[in-house]
Subunit: 708 residues, 2 copies
């Protein structure tokens, strides 16, 4: 796809002006030396065909297709079984009627579904529908727009015939449209149509003839079997459908070295001892166990407790300071066990119906084997030292960042090798540390390469950065992303952010809402008391189909390093933190029962496994947030008191049509969390006292609800 | 580019899934008959290569390039000499600095200009600059993003050196970046750099060494001659640059048949008599004379005065009811004269420094020659009659709409023939009647075909419809469009609408703000008295670089057909309307002096020939609107009292930085309309009494103003 000219310039084919378009100039890099001709950006790893669908230019106009990423240059994201909203702008000249369909094609190219799109009647020619791919793979969808002569006729005749204008002529033309529909109808439908055609051509009173043609049965049959004129098909829009775990999952982060560790002996826990903790995690209903890096920890410049520079012997250091004489990214820390022990740990997780996520942290300790074998993978400074990480004036001398610009191909291939090493040992999920500090192309190439052979492998981006880069990481392949959820605690900020995450952002990015992480103990948790933990867990687990907690959350761990800091005191990043789960359970100071309940409700309710149907409803108390989700006929309402200390009262106004109900309808509200039941309607008075309960998670019992 | 398979399906090449992408199905049209295989949508008339530029995938990421239309599938619009705002999202991983440039390439492919883009610092990685192509043609622009090691160094060293961290190392690395810049510098610059490099490597105090490197001269030279690493070039984005008249012009609409008409004799004016009116139009400073259709008017079902169905002999009928036994779209109405007379009319217009726009109205009277020669170009109804225009229950029996679906190729070629017929007679501007009632492809093909041979021909879309279709017409080639300006009379609605027209809409569409048309006598003009005419003329002429009036406006014609109607009483559409210009001038009841003044100011001030720099400023009186434009160092402020009867007072707060001034600056305000001058500053008190004046058009006199 790219050609290189003698000056080292790479030309992209298929561009408007082939002499310049898509050009990537390989410029001199450092010290005036020409960059080695590494072929960095000759993207053999990109799909061969990266052109995009057409829009204008057909008989009718189809524009603004959503979901689409970069105008079709990348795939939109979907998950198996997910209801994906499709929206387009489609219009025709003049006043005749248009019909619009979305046609979903499965990865083998066959037509999987065909759905009539509904006009939004917003004055902007917007049409909407849902598609629901049922399996993993690269699906595509087309939009078809066509002249709808039946709707054109009913519009026109519905005005003219009652006014006694051109009655016979209009009836004859209506009859002819119905005749054109006949070939695709069943025998019974054909008989009905024949009767109607006869009535239209009769000399019955005009309104009788019109009424026959406008009968609901005719309308319904013509909607399902439209006469289509001048069908215009948009280009194919790509939709990368992942397995369901990409969209839905409850994550639990734990440090294996803490489970079974002996603080007095400064002895690490192992995969074997950590295994004892797994059944409890499974019992709480978690789906994914995520463990920080499991590799040898660097010894040079190792950090002591609480990020100090003065470790004492036996301090374990940060697992993210990867590599020592004991090995690098493809080794297991001997303190945790052997590769065989790792395999057993993975097997046990699978046995319990969960999966493992490991960390992919592309950085090293100063004593990582790469530092001596491949110094060109790092930045060498003017004094010939290798650059450590810094955020001036802060220095992180236990960490060496990688530099992809000196030997992009060599370093990339090593990154792919280590990723594949773990994938080949059964790892299907990688949590990627700080992907926003590595070139975007690395991720696009890596994820494409791994998914080409292992399409079920998922990558979670631990990216905390500006929106465009977070979106770009999703667009180039990351199946999930961390978010700013921990810092969104007030109603207005939760609503604004989640509307973005469930709306425009969701075209590419699936949010994983962690309540806490080893890096983030939010002020809300530090100061909100135990009920703050319940509130945040309920929000995370119901706002997003994927959420997570970091070990210790269920024990209400909330003491920060110092005021104003979000670091845990005695953080597990630099110390073993064995926890006494049995004692906590005995004393009842654990959230395990609540987490179990929430995860059970999530598993039983498709609505909570959906992201994009999230909708916020009006609440007159700013401390009470109310939202809903709808999927597969399941409708869940969530009402949460955001104030962990004080009783809050207020009225919620449900947007009833958004829930598939009429404004005046009553419905049975079954509170799944508190096992209560009420008759609710459009407005409901809520009282939530934290000492009794912080939230309602309500299942709507109502018979014929519409929607997806 | 398209291939047709045996079922008549046309396949677009270059699509993601060649088996379906871009497919246009030619469906059975009427009565189950297969559509003739006309090749309708095989777009030989589209550019051969319609693929689009790349975005992600390079060393750095470049996204959201503006101006762009449909992701690069169509060209953005520009005019010769126009300052075009360019904006992109560009970012890199990590914390090092990025440099971004926009590179403009002239139609021959050579680099025309290279401009450093400035970060907006909006937290969204937005960069902005202006480009200014100087001639007509298909230009392109690229975005280049590159690592900026000098800025990375100044950021880092600026923190570390004052903290006495790694002073020698940082200074050495700064020196090395400066050394890399040397080859591209002048001798004088090299000498300065050599000194600085020596200072950096000296043992002078750290802050002295840093200060030498951070000197403004160094910053300026490094900004102009940056050291660029890993230059990543976006694809080429197309920019269709039209001649200046596409952007800038004052239009005057007139009916030649009225000028010199004799009402008593029901005798038409002619091209020859209408010529007498031209000097006065030129003297007022108008650039374009637009005349409604000049073809023979149909006699069948001809309309009488005020749209009645009962014409009397000698009534001229509507010029838009085109065609009779005397000829069709390629004929001149004998009442107006001959083709030679038309040529003389055109020549006289050119002689006076103006140009002619004629009407392209693709519809016919029932007696147009096409009706018998090509009945397939119309819609035949079930009773074998040809369908006339209707908007049920209203009928327009003097007009037959064309139908492009029966013989698209044949009818299209005839449309191209008649357009070219007039283009070949010197017509360079076509005002297209109701383009939104014809298929969009007709316009894309026609404008491309005409502009391929006659790139200076302009098409103005008389489209009043929903936004997507208006935008689509611009995207497929219309150089100008009518707007909803006549119905935007209050400040909030003017601001909202013009922000759209000068902002997102302007990427493709150039607005032509008519104050009135033969179809639109707004309520504001009907009821506002003479000052309403002045207010609307000033707004139209200063809000947009292209505006127009329809003859009679300058005489304050304001009597509507009936209350609630926007039709003129005794409208010129169905009657001759000779006007007594001399008498009006003698009595002083003409706006000619004001129009002359406005058009003179427009010609003398580049700011008023610009659209996209339009910016509204805060006014505390909702009846007073204030806005500014800036171009080529010219800055114009406009303040208008929207209340045509009552004195209004209030304070304007100018957004001084938007005008290139500091918040606390004073400036000389020269009122070009009223020949007054004041010293103004950030807030100014305004008093506008309609009987004295309705507006200020102020030129800002200030020395070193920045901006474009």
């Amino acid at each position: 796809m790219y050609q290189r000219d003698k000056s080292g310039v790479i030309h992209a084919a298929n561009c408007l002006n082939p002499s310049r378009a898509g050009t990537v100039l390989l410029m001199p890099n450092l010290g005036g030396q020409p960059t080695p001709d590494t072929g960095l950006l000759a993207p053999a790893w990109l799909p061969a065909n990266t052109t995009v669908p057409a829009e204008l230019g057909g008989r009718f106009s189809i524009l603004d297709v959503s979901p689409s990423i970069l105008g079709g240059r990348r795939s939109a994201a979907g998950a198996a079984g997910e209801a994906i909203p499709v929206q387009v702008t489609a219009f025709r000249e003049g006043h005749d009627a248009l019909g619009v369909e979305v046609v979903l094609h499965s990865p083998n190219g066959s037509e999987y579904s065909r759905v009539r799109m509904q006009p939004r009647n917003d004055g902007l020619d917007t049409w909407a529908a849902h598609i629901r791919p049922d399996a993993m793979g690269l699906w595509t969808f087309d939009i078809e727009a066509w002249g709808d002569p039946w709707s054109s006729w009913t519009q026109r005749a519905g005005i003219k015939i009652p006014s006694n204008i051109d009655v016979d002529l209009e009836c004859e033309e209506g009859a002819r449209v119905l005749e054109r529909a006949l070939p695709q109808l069943s025998g019974q439908e054909q008989a009905l149509f024949a009767t109607t055609i006869t009535q239209l051509r009769s000399q019955l009173p005009p309104l009788v003839r019109l009424a026959a043609a406008l009968a609901p049965e005719i309308a319904s049959i013509m909607f399902q079997n439209p006469v289509r004129e001048w069908v215009t098909v948009s280009g194919s829009w790509p939709l990368n459908v992942q397995r369901r775990r990409a969209l839905v999952g409850a994550w639990y982060e734990m440090f294996p070295r803490s489970e079974g560790a002996d603080l007095k002996l400064k002895k690490s826990g192992t995969f074997a001892t950590a295994m004892d903790r797994l059944p409890a995690i499974a019992d709480m209903g978690f789906d994914v166990v995520y463990v920080p890096p499991i590799h040898p920890v660097g010894e040079i410049n190792r950090k002591g407790p609480n990020n100090t520079l003065t470790p004492t012997p036996g301090d374990p250091g940060s697992p993210w300071a990867i590599g020592s004489k004991l090995g690098g990214h493809d080794a297991v820390h001997p303190d945790l066990g052997t590769l065989k022990d790792f395999d057993a740990f993975v097997a046990r997780i699978h046995e319990l119906g969960m999966e493992l996520a490991i960390d992919l942290a592309l950085q090293t300790a100063p004593d990582h084997p790469w530092v001596t074998s491949h110094p060109e993978w790092f930045t060498t400074r003017a004094d010939n030292s290798i650059a450590y990480a810094e955020n001036p004036p802060k220095k992180y001398q236990d960490i060496y960042p990688l530099n992809f610009d000196n030997d992009p191909e060599g370093l990339y291939l090593e990154v792919e090798r280590i990723t594949r090493f773990w994938a080949n040992r059964g790892v299907r999920i990688f949590r990627v540390d700080n992907p926003h500090t590595k070139p975007v192309w690395v991720w696009e190439r890596l994820i494409a390469a791994i998914n080409a052979t292992d399409p079920d492998v998922l990558f979670l981006a631990e990216a905390f950065t500006r929106r465009p880069l977070m979106q770009a990481l999703a667009a180039v392949g990351f199946q999930q992303s961390y978010t700013y959820f921990t810092w969104r605690n007030e109603r207005a900020e939760i609503e604004e952010y989640l509307k973005e995450l469930a709306g425009p952002s969701a075209l590419a990015m699936r949010p994983n809402l962690f309540t806490n992480t080893p890096d983030i103990l939010s002020e809300y948790l530090q100061t909100g008391g135990p009920k703050a933990f319940a509130i945040r867990a309920i929000l995370a687990a119901t706002l997003s189909p994927t959420y997570g907690i970091y070990s210790g959350f269920e024990l209400y761990e909330h003491v920060a390093l110092k005021p104003g800091s979000e670091e845990y005191l005695d953080t597990e990043k630099f110390e073993y933190r064995p926890r006494n789960w049995a004692k906590a359970e005995a004393l009842g100071i654990t959230m395990a029962p609540l987490l179990t309940a929430i995860n059970t409700i999530r598993r039983e309710h498709p609505a909570l496994q959906d992201l994009r149907s999230l909708r916020f409803h009006t609440s007159d108390n700013p401390n009470i947030i109310a939202f809903s989700k709808v999927d597969q006929g399941d409708c869940i309402l969530v009402v949460v008191n955001l104030d962990s200390y004080t009783e809050q009262q207020g009225t919620i106004w449900w947007d009833m049509p958004a829930l598939g109900m009429n404004w005046d309808e009553n419905f049975t509200a079954d509170d799944l969390l508190n096992e209560e039941s009420w008759l609710w309607n459009q407005h409901v008075f809520i009282r939530l006292a934290p000492w009794e309960k912080v939230a309602h998670i309500v299942h709507v019992e109502q018979e014929a609800r519409g929607g997806k």
